[in-house]
Symmetry: C2
Subunit: 146 residues, 2 copies
DNA sequence: CCATACGTAACATTATAAGTTACGTGAAAG
DNA sequence: CTTTCACGTAACTTATAATGTTACGTATGG
């Protein structure tokens, strides 16, 4: 008898969540963290880690070094990084799962329906992004201390 | 030579958008609208229409009749239906494309990161849903009149 | 020179909305 | 009563993007 719990498969983009997690770990580390070690933390694959962290490196949030003793380190303080910064760094992925029926509808009704919907979503986007800007990673680190 | 424009494929859930569109059309119609006619409006397949409208029927927003002259009609006024009502009727689908890394993290840092993220998202959810509640379909219909 | 660790291309997997096919049921037209 | 229409629904396929995996190249420290 096999008791295999199929753990909640994510169909949503979890990169932001993962990067927040990693960055705080990095700030606690005294040595560079290897992709493999990070992958173990996040229960995923080293290549996935490298891929996503590469974006953060491009934005100057982390640095990577090769070879012995290499890995990933923070290049800025958690206090200088907001949730928004990380979100932007990974490419500002789509926030919403709801979409419009058509890009450029000719039907007036469709236009009006899309307008109503996107007005609400734009408003919510403002809410999210302003909250993202208001949260520094240092706050997360602080909240994680027992 | 074939010039086939691959029109923007939606990877997001467009059911809400589509249903808003359909319902307003229904309110203007003097006869029941067939799934096929609706599918043509929305540039999709009749079965997709029946599937989604079935939810609205269960909630008492529309009725369907079979056979000659059959199709879909509104059973309530657009003025009595909010965007939120439709959203709920189709099953209150996931609003956000961003997800958390794990359902029940044991890592304190992961917990803190997820908490920060979901706090923002919950706030945004409130924004969206309260806006959905504030918009009646009759407003969309009105906005669509030239 | 060898082990380590990132860089990256190429490919496989997965989940879900969406699309499609097929056939059943019921109702109106004749 | 038979035909046609239109919904009801099961079963299957498709599409897409994040995710996962394999493989190999490159740089670095010992």
């Amino acid at each position: 008898m096999e008791i295999s719990l199929k753990i909640g498969v994510m169909r949503q983009d979890s990169r932001l969540s993962r990067m927040l997690h990693v960055l705080v770990h990095m700030s606690n580390a005294t040595h560079p963290l290897t992709s493999e070690a990070i992958a173990k933390m996040l229960q995923t694959n080293p290549v996935v880690i490298r891929r996503t962290l590469a974006h953060l490196r491009e934005e100057g949030f982390v640095e990577s070094t090769k070879g012995h003793g290499g890995g990933w380190i923070l290049s800025r303080s958690l206090d200088s990084m907001s949730l928004y910064d990380v979100y932007e760094a990974i490419g500002a992925p789509e926030l919403f799962a709801l979409g419009l029926s058509s890009d450029s509808p000719t039907c007036l009704i469709e236009k009006a329906a899309n307008a109503a919907l996107s007005k609400s979503l734009r408003q919510a986007e403002k809410t999210i992004l302003s909250q993202f800007k208001a949260v520094k990673l240092s706050q997360i680190a602080k909240a994680a201390r027992p």
